[in-house]
């Protein structure tokens, strides 16, 4: 066996038909591999399924005929089939984490086997950075997300699909084609970019939209300091470790999965022309203004104009196989998304080759992914445009340059943007080609000592293109000619990593030590150019290359960051009862000044498996482990040169009779040259328990985290004269405390099998210290104060409407001053909180928190024979959010469309919460009041699916070894009181996290999927 090269064996395959399945696949295979293959005579076929103690199918189990080389592996449903010379052979089943089992056939052609967990491995192996640990031996907080749970969802990026699958993970975003989700692990720990660190096959990088989630083998989320400390300075926001798929021991496996989805966008319920004009006239009449000359013959539904049904095509094919000395995997994927908003889309082509080979003490392997991703980006913000445009405006208007309808001074005074016009007149696209790969070699120097060298390289070539055509999309638009702008950029990451691993067992003692060193260099360079007055192409459009046009401009920049690191980890295990783990990392990074480049990040953790103690043998309790950890992590998530104050050289002036251009130069942006590491100190306490024959498992964590010297762009006083963004400063100390529980119950005793997993997260952030020795910081409608969570709502309080003049006259403070003397019946009554007899900014108070009190994920699975049903829910409760779009449509001072059925106050209709309609006065529509705050709680069915595994004999006849069809839906049910499009919105503002600026909503998606393999 050891003499057999893996590449010879992978073509050997039992079965009469060499390559069952579609001709395309066959052709592809031949092209791909250029093969010829030996046909092996068969006698008998044996099929079966393999499940674990919980009854869950175990995929990837190696099934081997004892004393032969004949091997197969189980598929995703735990099924296998193997051809045996006779029915008296013995089959050997093996898989990591399970005890090897032998089964003599004894004449059977069908076997159902339950694998027992390995004595040494209660569960699976977990990748923890520069090595693996057994999950049962974990001393820190690590969440493992099953790849199939990620893959079953229709999402562009990994992060988007993680929501609700692990405790302590908060995900927001998605929706737009090619958009990347925001992900937060254990709360907002700093204020500068909270995305966690992604490590893909050992390369520190990010799993953006050009990473194909179908290539994932496993995801581990390192949440606490002891787990993440091995990534030291970059780990403060948590670490997501992604391992891509490898071939498994056995003959060539071909797997295809295809998914086709349609997507719809949630819509507002808006007024049509009849209702709009009635209320608009009322607003003008009340204000004593002349009514607009609205065109009542037009009734445009702008949502019909801007929105459409989107679709997604997601197809992947994988070829894999291997022997005990090597394996290979080749995959190709296509992902195409036609956006649910006009003129948006995303396309991704991906290709991956992962191989590994072993000879004697030497192992070598490589992972390579090539991806091309292109996004057709959205112009303007249709989510806001559809409410700003009036129904009385026609879509097209030949009288306007460009031919589109928009606001008009006499007939429809609005500055809303025609979404179709801007989509047509502005083209934006961003395309990138990324190569990401690593090559590693391992040398087993001694039985207990292994050396590993890992060389990583990643590069991306980005191309952004913008074209603005002639024409207008909004009222009074300043004239601009046709403009082309392009930029091209390349980024590169180089990594060299050396690690030594020592593993030894002495009786009941076992020791594992890793020591290593790494050097990483990240670089980015961009050039851009722009031209105006493009040459029109007589055949339509423009010559949009930068050769044409005039008034050209060019520019560019480049950045580089270097990181040098030394790290080590030591694990000690005594009799599976006492586990101790220590980690140390020292990082040096070029982003800081000479005295601040290096930082040290230590952590320790310990666990006590109480259930292994003699005094603690209880029947109903299968496992109980207590854990505690303490450690320090860092973050240097800043620009490469932020500590260096710069001179801006672009302040030119003209002087003299000929308006001679003269250069100017000055410092525009301030800098803090003493920038240093941001430090997260975290304590974690938790336990893992399994009850009732391990049917019920519970993990709970409590953590206390404190982030010191948070690197943030703290708002400076205007009087500093600073511009160009606030400089980074080690400004704030934040505290986060949280409690996470995950509980799962699985029952597989009956044909009807089911499992339920629930995770619960509660978390509170608190500002312990603010930048520049301040006590408070105000941003927009929020205040951030020491001792309170970040960005609490700070607004004027409304107190209903004045119903009559007497109420206005009687609304007085203690001194008898009429508080709102200018108010009329139907106007909003504001609370004079400071009692000074007038409504000013000093009446603002803290009225709510944008942070949810707790979040809940619920995953439910059910299977009966060939049917499987699963459903994931996510809920977030207790936040107060600002409905930005509502503050646009429920105001009457400025012309936007109104919500259908709005009831402004009138003397005849006083029973309403909406003030009187009044054009051109902001008094009732001011944005800094609690009028627009809403309960942001919601529960949402993130995912629901039903799948059917085609009957084995049917599948066999079709030439496949397995096939599954499924129908699934995402975001189909949302239960919420929030009146905006989507309570699960996101924005980029740290201090105003609960502000819905008109965020792109999550889409409702319905998918049909087909998977088969042979």
């Amino acid at each position: 066996m050891s003499k057999t090269l893996p590449f010879q064996r992978r073509f050997w395959r039992p079965g009469k038909r060499l390559f069952p399945g579609g001709k395309t696949v066959l052709t592809l295979l031949i092209l791909w591999l250029g093969i010829s293959a030996a046909v092996h005579a068969q006698n008998q076929r044996v099929t079966g399924t393999v499940a674990d103690a919980k009854g869950e199918a175990v995929p990837g189990v190696t099934v081997k005929i004892k004393n032969t080389n004949r091997v197969t592996t189980t598929d995703g449903s735990g099924r296998f089939s193997i051809d045996v010379p006779d029915l008296q052979v013995t089959l050997v089943f093996s898989s990591i984490g399970y005890a090897e089992q032998e089964q003599a056939l004894g004449g059977r052609t069908s076997i159902t086997l339950t694998l027992q967990s390995d004595e040494q491995a209660l569960e699976e192996v977990v990748v923890v950075g520069y090595g693996t640990q057994l999950k049962k031996d974990l001393t820190g907080a690590v969440s493992v997300v099953r790849a199939q749970d990620v893959k079953k969802r229709q999402s562009t990026t990994v992060s988007e699909s993680l929501q609700g699958l692990a405790s302590g993970i908060k995900v927001r975003g998605g929706g737009q084609p090619g958009s990347e989700a925001q992900i937060q692990i254990r709360g907002l720990k700093n204020l500068s970019g909270t995305n966690p660190l992604y490590v893909i096959d050992g390369l520190v990088t990010n799993a953006g939209r050009d990473f194909n989630p179908a290539d994932i083998e496993s995801i581990q989320i390192l949440k606490d300091a002891s787990a993440a400390a091995i990534y030291g300075s970059r780990a403060a926001n948590g670490v997501i470790i992604i391992t891509t798929r490898k071939g498994k021991e056995g003959p060539l496996q071909v797997e295809f999965s295809g998914k086709s989805s349609i997507q719809t966008i949630p819509r507002y319920d808006l007024a049509g022309t009849e209702e709009f004009s009635r209320i608009n006239f009322m607003a003008y009449d009340n204000a004593g203004a002349n009514r607009q000359n609205l065109d009542l013959t037009v009734n445009t539904d702008w949502q019909d104009v801007a929105f459409r049904t989107g679709n997604v095509q997601d197809h992947n094919i994988t070829f894999s196989g291997g022997s005990n000395t090597g394996n290979y995997l080749v995959s190709a994927g296509y992902f195409g998304n036609k956006g649910a908003v006009i003129s948006t889309g995303f396309d991704r082509l991906s290709f991956r080759v992962n191989t590994q080979g072993k000879k004697g003490i030497f192992t070598i392997g490589q992972n390579l992914a090539i991806t091309n991703a292109k996004a057709d980006e959205m112009s303007g913000n249709p989510i806001i445009d559809v409410i700003r445009m009036l129904p009385t405006i026609p879509v097209y208007n030949a009288a306007n340059p460009g031919g589109y309808g928009y606001g008009d001074e006499q007939r429809a005074r609005t500055f809303g943007t025609n979404p179709l016009a801007i989509a047509d007149l502005e083209d934006r696209s961003l395309e990138n080609l990324r190569l990401r790969g690593n090559i590693f070699g391992e040398l087993q120097i001694l039985k207990s000592l292994k050396y590993r060298l890992n060389l990583g390289y990643e590069t991306s070539r980005d191309h952004y293109k913008y074209l603005k055509k002639d024409g207008f999309w909004t009222l009074n638009q300043a004239f601009d000619p046709a403009i082309a702008n392009e930029n091209r950029a390349e980024s590169a990451t180089k990594l060299i990593e050396n690690t030594l691993t020592f593993t030894e067992n002495f009786g009941k003692h076992s020791i594992n030590v890793i020591a290593g060193q790494s050097y990483q260099q990240d670089s980015y360079a961009q050039i851009w150019g722009t031209k105006r007055n493009l040459l029109p192409n007589p055949s339509g459009g423009y010559y949009d290359v930068l050769d044409q046009g005039n008034e050209g401009l060019t520019g560019g920049f480049r950045n580089r960051t270097d990181i040098i690191s030394y790290f080590g980890r030591a694990e000690y295990n005594y009799a599976d009862k006492y586990l101790i783990n220590g980690v140390f990392r020292r990082d040096g990074v070029s982003r800081f000044g000479p005295e601040y480049k290096f930082g040290n990040f230590p952590s320790v953790s310990a666990a006590w498996r109480i259930s292994n103690e003699e005094f603690f043998k209880v029947k109903w309790l299968n496992d109980l482990k207590l854990r505690a950890s303490y450690g320090t992590l860092g973050s240097s998530n800043i620009g490469p040169y932020d500590y260096i104050p710069l001179i801006n050289t672009f302040s030119t002036i003209v002087l003299g009779p000929g308006q001679n251009v003269q250069p100017g130069a000055t410092q525009v942006k301030l800098a803090n040259s003493d920038l240093r590491w941001e430090e997260l100190v975290q304590q974690n306490y938790g336990f893992d328990a399994a009850f009732l024959d391990s049917k019920l498992t519970v993990s709970a964590e409590y953590f206390i985290a404190k982030t010191k010297d948070v690197l943030l762009e703290y708002p400076l006083l205007i009087s500093t004269g600073n511009d160009g963004g606030n400089p980074r400063v080690n400004g704030v100390t934040l505290g986060n405390r949280g409690f996470e529980v995950t509980a799962g119950y699985a029952n597989n005793d009956n044909p009807l099998k089911y499992n339920v997993t629930a995770n619960f997260t509660t978390l509170r952030n608190k500002v312990l210290d603010l930048g520049y020795n301040k006590n408070k910081t105000y941003v927009g409608n929020t205040v951030t104060e020491v001792g309170q969570p970040i960005g609490m709502w700070y607004v004027l309080q409304t107190d209903g409407l004045f119903q009559n003049q007497a109420e206005v006259d009687n609304y007085r403070n203690a001194q008898g001053t009429v508080i709102q003397p200018g108010a009329k019946p139907g106007d909003i009554r504001f609370r004079d909180n400071n009692g000074d007899g007038q409504i000013t900014n000093s009446d603002k108070v803290v009225v709510g928190s944008p942070w949810p009190k707790y979040e809940l994920g619920l995953n439910f699975g059910l299977s009966y024979k060939n049917f499987e049903f699963s459903m994931d829910w996510f809920g977030s409760f207790g936040s107060t959010v600002f409905n930005g779009p509502r503050s646009v449509i429920e105001r009457f001072d400025d012309n936007s469309n109104y919500p259908a059925g709005i009831q402004p106050w009138t003397p005849q209709n006083p029973n309403t919460t909406t003030p009187r309609a009044y054009y051109a006065s902001t008094l009732n529509s001011r944005g800094d009041t609690d009028r627009w705050l809403e309960n942001g709680s919601f529960a949402r069915m993130k995912y629901v699916a039903i799948s059917y595994n085609l009957p084995a004999d049917f599948v066999k006849r079709a030439g496949f070894s397995r096939a599954q069809i499924s129908v699934s839906g995402q975001n189909l049910i949302t239960i919420t009181k929030y009146t905006g499009l989507d309570p699960e919105f996101s924005n980029g503002s740290i201090f105003e996290k609960g502000y819905d600026f008109g965020a792109f909503p999550n889409l409702r998606t319905v998918s049909v999927g087909l998977q088969f393999g042979f």
Binding site: P657, T666, T922
Partner: protein, 508 residues
């Protein structure tokens, strides 16, 4: 053997990479100069000073928004903008004190300019080069700092003084109006002594001694320090400076041709060479947005327009040859201009309401039929006619009314108006009557040139409810004016909240 080879290979790699040099961590910025590399040569000093002038091209100041404060807030102008908040900020309806366009942008750009002045004033004295040129550069920075504090005093009054480059954590103290004026006087006085009387060639347009004296005169007049104001203005009117200044063709003050002429005391140099957004980016706009924002509906944004009462004011007195005051056709677009002067508006006959009018000065109606963001016409911030009228006002306040006639007459004569004593014999040497007449003279000569708001403040017309009521007859926006409060803008709320040393302006 192979094993040995492999071991050697790996060992080699290990050694080669383990010895990563720490100097890899010393990455310098490859993209631009650092502050350490700057402020070393005369050229650096020159560029630093130029960068202050560049602030004229940014939105908060004389590129765009300041005209909303100075022209539209006054009784000369108003806004019918459909952008309600923008219009509210020209009629004393200040709800959100953080409104960028109305308040924060201008406040921010003033401090940006002051930061640039302070950089020059701190760094240039340490650079070794020709003393004369060094003095001139420092004096320009002082002039410009005084210039911005002057307008800060006019707009916010209690504007926190910053005279050193700020560290990110610095919180300046509250300043009183008197302290701001004191700084203005000091800066302009020191500037005057270091500035040349004239610039030539490609330096034309920089601040001169005359500009500093005129700004100083303005600052002193706002404080009613009449005697000192007269001394400051003497240089331009009766002193050595008078030889450099004269009156030119009226319309030459508002057009792209004949810029930096003899009437110009201080002039902002605009150019249309860069057709890009304003800011600190490469090739950013060096033009003015004013005409794009003030041009009539369907030509520009029409966010600001003139009050129609001014037309009648022009028509009250005929020229010596019985014509309508010729300044009217260069000052306003108004319904009768085609009848009165045969002049159309951007090539169009009047198509707007009969009670409307638009500001014409610095518009490009005479050369094109539309506007954009890149207006190249220099803004004559101080012209000699203004100085002469200021001088007359100062003399009148000092009881030298008889002497004041000369200067008013000189301005009137250019417009072919009869001498004041001839036209209005009733005034005589009555100080109050003369003052009232001067108010009209300034309106007719300087309407739309951003001086009216300071004039109203100086004259005390807004200090009493009775005075405000009179102004409100011309401009109903003043019905919203609250005596003692609306005379100054609120400080940006965000600044008051984040700088614990500050108090919001009274009444806000």
């Amino acid at each position: 053997m192979k094993k040995t080879f492999l071991i050697i290979f790996f060992a080699g790699l290990l050694v080669s990479t383990a010895g990563c040099k720490k100097d890899l961590l010393d990455q310098s910025n490859p993209n631009t100069l650092t502050t350490d590399q700057f402020w070393r040569t005369e050229a650096d000093a020159q560029k630093g000073v130029n960068a202050i002038y560049h602030m004229f091209y940014q939105n908060g100041g004389f590129n765009r928004w300041i005209y909303f404060r100075l022209d539209l807030t006054s009784d000369e102008g108003f806004s019918k903008s459909p952008w309600v908040e923008l219009a509210d900020w020209t009629r004393f309806q200040y709800v959100n004190y953080n409104f960028w366009e109305g308040n924060v942008n201008t406040y921010r750009d003033f401090y940006k300019a002051i930061f640039r002045c302070n950089q020059v004033l701190e760094n240039v004295p340490n650079i070794q080069f020709d003393q004369t040129r060094k003095t001139q550069l420092i004096a320009q920075a002082k002039f410009l700092r005084g210039f911005y504090y002057y307008y800060a005093a006019v707009l916010w009054e209690n504007f926190p003084i910053v005279t050193t480059t700020q560290r990110p954590e610095d919180m300046p103290k509250q300043s009183t109006l008197a302290e701001v004026w004191a700084l203005v006087e000091k800066d302009l006085t020191e500037a005057s002594s270091g500035l040349p009387e004239q610039w030539t060639g490609n330096d034309l347009g920089r601040a001169t001694k005359g500009a500093a004296q005129a700004m100083l005169g303005r600052a002193l007049m706002q404080q009613k320090k009449w005697a000192q104001a007269k001394t400051a203005l003497d240089y331009l009117v009766t002193g050595t400076g008078r030889n450099f200044y004269d009156l030119v063709n009226y319309q030459d003050n508002f057009r792209a041709e004949n810029e930096n002429n003899k009437e110009s005391v201080f002039e902002i140099q605009f150019s249309d060479v860069n057709k890009n957004a304003e800011g600190d980016n490469p090739n950013s706009n060096m033009g003015s947005n004013r005409s794009q924002f003030f041009a009539p509906r369907s030509i520009g944004w029409s966010d600001g327009q003139a009050r129609n009462w001014i037309v009648a004011e022009f028509k009250k007195e005929k020229t010596t040859d019985g014509q309508i005051d010729p300044r009217l056709q260069h000052t306003l677009f108004y319904p009768g201009s085609e009848t009165d002067f045969g002049v159309k508006t951007y090539g169009r006959s009047w198509q707007w309401d009969a009670d409307e009018a638009w500001f014409k000065k610095y518009s490009r109606d005479y050369m094109r039929s539309n506007e954009d963001y890149f207006n190249q016409i220099n803004n004559r911030v101080i012209r000699y006619a203004d100085v002469l009228l200021m001088y007359a006002e100062v003399q009148n306040e000092l009881g030298q009314t008889a002497d004041a006639y000369t200067y008013v007459n000189r301005v009137r004569a250019r417009a072919k108006m009869a001498p004041l004593a001839t036209a209005y014999p009733a005034i005589g040497n009555d100080q109050a009557l003369f003052r009232e007449r001067l108010k009209t003279e300034r309106l007719l000569e300087l309407c739309g040139e951003s001086v009216r708001w300071a004039d109203l403040k100086r004259w005390g017309d807004l200090d009493t409810q009775a005075g405000v009521n009179r102004v409100a007859e011309r401009d109903p926006d003043f019905r919203n004016f609250v005596v003692g409060k609306s005379i100054r803008l609120p400080l940006p709320q965000i600044e008051v909240e984040n700088n614990t040393n500050l108090r919001q302006n009274p009444g806000y």
